[in-house]
Amino acid sequence: MELGHLVGLTGTPYTFQVDARHIRQFAQAIGDANPLYTDESYAKKTIHGTCIAPLTFPIAVMPDEGEALQLDLDYRRMLHGEQQFIYTRMIRPGDILHCTQQVTDVYEKAGKNGSMEFIVMDTVMHDAEGAHVVTSRTNIIYRPLAT
């Protein structure tokens, strides 16, 4: 395995303030008009009790430019294979999220053009009280370059 050394690699912790405007723009880009994201009086009557962010919003909860975890890999070989969000609770406007990125696993599988490696990277997000909110799990495929 070429990438086994990456397991355990951890980024600098960062905080991210979730604001209502960002949630609105994220939902608008998707074309998701669900009032759950923007209309507090509607959201109050739902199981959530308050506005929430769209399910894929954690993907936008990134460190500032230049501060992301650097894997130093060949970007031409990287493919976003899978994405998972594991929620303890939904993200809400006003949340201050304390986030850490870490490579949690690397494994290998035989592919058509040689072996491919898979990198599992977690961004774990806790709220200001220290309670878990969501883990965003990205699975990156690292494939041989086409020859």
Partner: protein
Amino acid sequence: MLEQATLSIGQVLPAYTKAPVSKVQLVKYAGASGDFNPLHTDDSFAQKIGLSGVVAHGMLIMGFLAEYVEHLAGDIAIVQDFRMRFGAMTFAKDTITCRGVIKELFEKDGKHHAILTLYAEKGPEEIVGSGEAILQF
């Protein structure tokens, strides 16, 4: 919106078709998500690597499935886990349809849960992504 009491395993849920993906949408999604890979916004860049033009962010397509799932959850269910595996690429002007099937129903901690199998397809039988969501009622 789903009604927990009426769900059954294997039940096919109503499909949902999005408006075609537009280039403006890809620029908006780049801004909102912070993913500025030119593959998604710059046709000449995409053509240099042998594609016909810009490719939609995989996460935008997952966002479509999220919209579908949250709509199904309505005001009575919370999505606890949501995952997707990316397949074929989506290009500008492609139209994505979201589909769902009830895979499993179970009770945990006194609460009803449903596992949904999800698909995003462009055109008949052409899957651009498949996934799963766990809903708690």
